[in-house]
């Protein structure tokens, strides 16, 4: 009986568990790292866009859409750069609209459903607080594009963080109902915080080269900012929950696939259409 040839593993795979741990080389790692940065912004931008036309007032509607557009702008830069680094002819649009769910590298926090305004604001506040500290560190990245985007984006994200912080304070220190909703929102999103600070092999590899951020380096700052805002909102931090990890390696919650269905429908149905 003729022997069956083995199934070829991708050249970067290293045998057992390769799905989770691609071997690291400078170009491949930079590509992956840029996907992390870009996908965080892209997916949260898409999530926030779902509020358009649904917020309680036109002013809140606009403020959420503005944050969404800032984030999608960041994603455009990061994913465009990722496409160039990859060198396979994919541009930012191809990476945003023609990748499937397992190839997304965003953290799980940003793909969580909007829920009510409290849950959306809790998610925004936790993410923007983290992203602001991240971009501050990335100002010193040895990758010129990352440093450049961080410099532009850190101003935007400062605004996102302040805006969402103001809402945490008002909801927490507001009515009985607003307090209940922001407490529920924080409790829902709390388990996704540890993933934001996860220093896996790729994150460590990039940090060692001065390209990526040392996430552990600003955990204390993150905790201090969150504590201060919660205190002003007269809220107690939710009890720590079992952390959920995996987004950085493509292990996503069910929600991301549904988000991509909506986001990718048009370009997949009418490829390369313009208007």
């Amino acid at each position: 009986m003729a022997s069956t040839p083995p199934i070829d593993l991708p050249s970067h795979a290293t045998g057992a568990g390769a799905f989770d741990t691609p071997a690291l080389d400078e170009g491949g790692a930079l590509f992956e790292y840029l996907l992390r940065l870009g996908d965080d912004s892209l997916i949260l931008g898409q999530r926030l866009s779902e509020w358009c036309g649904h917020a309680a007032s036109v002013e809140v509607d606009l403020s959420l859409a503005n944050v969404a557009l800032d984030l999608i702008g960041q994603a455009t830069h990061f994913l465009g750069h990722a496409g160039k680094v990859e060198g396979k002819g994919r541009d930012g649009d191809a990476l945003a609209f023609r990748r499937d769910v397992l190839d997304f590298r965003n953290c799980l926090l940003v793909e969580q459903p909007n829920g009510d305004f409290g849950r959306t604001m809790a998610r925004q506040f936790l993410f923007s607080t983290w992203q602001r500290l991240l971009f501050r560190q990335l100002l010193g990245s040895t990758d010129e594009l990352i440093a450049g985007v961080a410099e532009k984006a850190v101003k935007e994200v400062t605004y996102h963080q302040e805006l969402s912080g103001e809402w945490i304070i008002r909801l927490g220190d507001g009515t009985e109902e607003s307090r209940r909703r922001i407490e529920d929102g924080l409790a829902w999103n709390w388990r996704f915080i540890p993933e934001l600070f996860e220093m896996d092999d790729l994150a460590a590899f990039m940090a060692e080269r001065g390209i990526g951020a040392d996430l552990a380096g600003f955990r204390a700052d993150f905790d201090a900012v969150v504590s201060a805002v919660l205190a002003e909102a007269t809220l107690e931090p939710p009890p720590d929950q079992r952390p959920i990890l995996g987004g950085r390696r493509g292990h996503h919650s069910e929600h991301l696939g549904h988000l991509l269905c909506t986001m990718q429908f048009l370009p997949r149905t009418y490829p390369d259409s313009t208007w």
Partner: protein, 93 residues
Amino acid sequence: MSDWPLWEVFVRSRGGMAHRHVGSVHAPDAEIALRHARDTYTRRMEGVSLWVVPSASITASDPGQDEAMFDPAVDKVYRHPTFYTIPEDVKHI
């Protein structure tokens, strides 16, 4: 939100210019009103400074009194300083 008070928004388009009224926003308090004004009226680089004022603080003239308030000025064009010759090299008048 229908129960949020209304705030009048004033934007300074660039340094040295006066703040101009551009519209209004609903907001629960002054700080959020500023943010709503920023997101509603300055997202296309319209301004470098913002004021918000509670609409309730504005005292407006009565439209029913228009004739007494404004008509007396109609036939007094000489109050416009347009009857002087401006020397050519004087700019920004």
